[in-house]
Amino acid sequence: MRIEPEASAAGIVLIGSFNPRIFRPEWFKAMGIIGDADAESAKVRIVHEAVTAFSLDWANLHVDQNRFGIDTSDPPLIRIHDAVLTAFKQFLIHTPVYQLGINRTVHFSVGSFDVRDAIGKLLAPREPWGEWGPKISGDPQKPQLRGGMKSLLMSQLDRGDGYKGSINARVEPSALRPADGIFVEVNDHFFVGDDPTKILGSEPAMNILESEWSTSITRSEWIIDQVMALRERRKK
């Protein structure tokens, strides 16, 4: 990526049928997915048959009966891939997983509010908004009242790789860098098979995760880089 991120994270989301009570730090430790010190330092918010949520030094995990989510902002990001793969490919093979998401998020600075505003105008021009367009920006002397693009979601529905799903990118002002930051998240969404009722385990989803993780992360960073490139493009 051409701009050094201010913060960067990756996540994996599975949609399926889960037993949240299983996913305790002790279970991950017993299965060799995390180490002793990791398990002991875990900050458990809740472990219940309806929902489990805890944080490790390097990851956050939230599981309810339909959704498993893990994310990390600490490199190497592949640790969450390894944890999910080991949990579901080696131990929870009969847990049905119908959908898989590989997510990549980045906050980066473009140097100034005006540059970010210009990028916002490139992505979402004011002109199509007619007479309202010029009013959106507000008074340049009052930065706290400057309006503009708040959120833009683009979706590629024809994945082009043979999988069913979509590639979705969202661009927003960064909450971490309110003055000059941009937040981009890319959601690489896979439907596992054509008929969820025929999915009896996690293997098909794990095969996708195993084979597509690297491609997905690289593609997501490439998409994020396209947004970063707007910093130069807006000068032309």
């Binding site: 050094e4 991120p5 201010e6 913060a7 960067s8 994270a9 996540g11 989301v13 599975l14 949609i15 060799g32 997915i33 995390i34 180490g35 002793d36 010190a37 990791d38 918010r45 809740i46 219940h48 048959e49 309806a50 929902v51 949520a53 939230h62 309810d64 009966q65 339909n66 959704r67 989510g69 994310d71 902002s73 600490d74 490199p75 190497p76 990001l77 592949i78 640790r79 390894d82 793969l85 080991t86 490919k89 080696q90 959908q99 898989l100 998401g101 997510n103 998020t105 959120s151 979509s166 979705n168 969202r170 927003e172 909450a175 971490l176 998240e185 959601n187 969404h189 896979f190 293997e203």
Partner: protein
């Protein structure tokens, strides 16, 4: 608890003296269970009652999220505070794209929300949300994948593949003091690790160069993996077996 339960032939209604707190009926679900549906207009402001000994199902969105009753071990509130809170937060943060990251964005409070964002504001958060801007963040700038080739006293040698730039493989020597305690027993010949080099960005803006070595905890090979690998190997053998190589009998006979 300001709640009143009334039963008619087909439904169980729970009313509250707090205006606007519970405006959906509590339907009679299964023979011994109840289904409590929270509408999306901010309904359950308080845990519901404490008199029912059977199971309850609470849904926090239009789509029931819990297909099984939630437990039956509560003596006081039907829904433990922490469970309700976690489910509530998860429902609020659930994105329209189901596998996208959960988000907590500052939408204008009066904006019409998508169904997944419609609030069921029945409980305050159990703990204040973590402000990520106040934590240091480690941003990786370059990453290598390493394979341990040799182990010596308190050090090991590894072959390194640059994952960030297309550089040739390198060899590096690492001190085991740099390895976390959890990973020490994973340092064996052939073990795979990631070496990330980057900067630790402090909330005040300071940057510190840092690096981290993490040994990978990969799943063991399964029988299916081995069968699949065997199949690929056979395919390759067949493919190469039909090719004429310089050392093949046919090639030798034509020399």
């Amino acid at each position: 608890m300001n709640s009143l339960v009334s039963i008619n032939s087909t439904a169980l209604h729970l009313n509250s003296s707090d205006p606007g707190t519970l405006n959906q009926p509590v339907r009679h679900g299964w023979s011994e269970n109840f289904l409590v549906t929270a509408s999306h207009h901010g309904t359950l402001k308080q845990p519901i009652g404490h008199g029912w000994s059977e199971n309850l199902l609470l849904t926090t969105s239009n789509q029931p999220t819990l297909m099984q009753p939630i437990g039956h071990e509560w003596s006081e509130n039907i829904l433990p505070f922490a469970v309700a809170d976690e489910l509530h937060k998860a429902a609020l943060m659930r994105p329209p794209l189901e596998t996208a990251p959960s988000v907590d964005r500052p939408f204008a409070e009066t904006m019409n929300l998508l169904p997944h964002q419609q609030q069921v504001a029945f409980l305050p958060p159990a703990a204040p949300a973590v402000d990520v801007s106040k934590r240091p963040s480690f941003v990786g700038l370059q990453e290598w994948e390493g394979v341990v080739t040799e182990i010596r006293d308190r050090a090991f040698t590894a072959r390194l593949m640059d994952l960030t730039h297309p550089n040739p493989d390198e060899e590096g020597e690492f001190c085991t003091d740099e390895i976390s305690e959890d990973d020490l027993n994973l340092v064996v010949p052939g073990a795979i690790f990631r070496w990330s080099v980057g900067v630790l960005k402090m909330p005040g803006g300071a940057k510190r160069p840092t690096s981290q070595i993490v040994f990978r905890r990969l799943p063991q090979w399964t029988k299916r993996d081995l069968e699949r690998a065997d199949g690929v190997a056979k395919e390759l053998l067949n493919a190469f077996g039909t090719m004429k190589t310089p050392d093949s009998d046919e090639a030798r006979s034509t020399r």
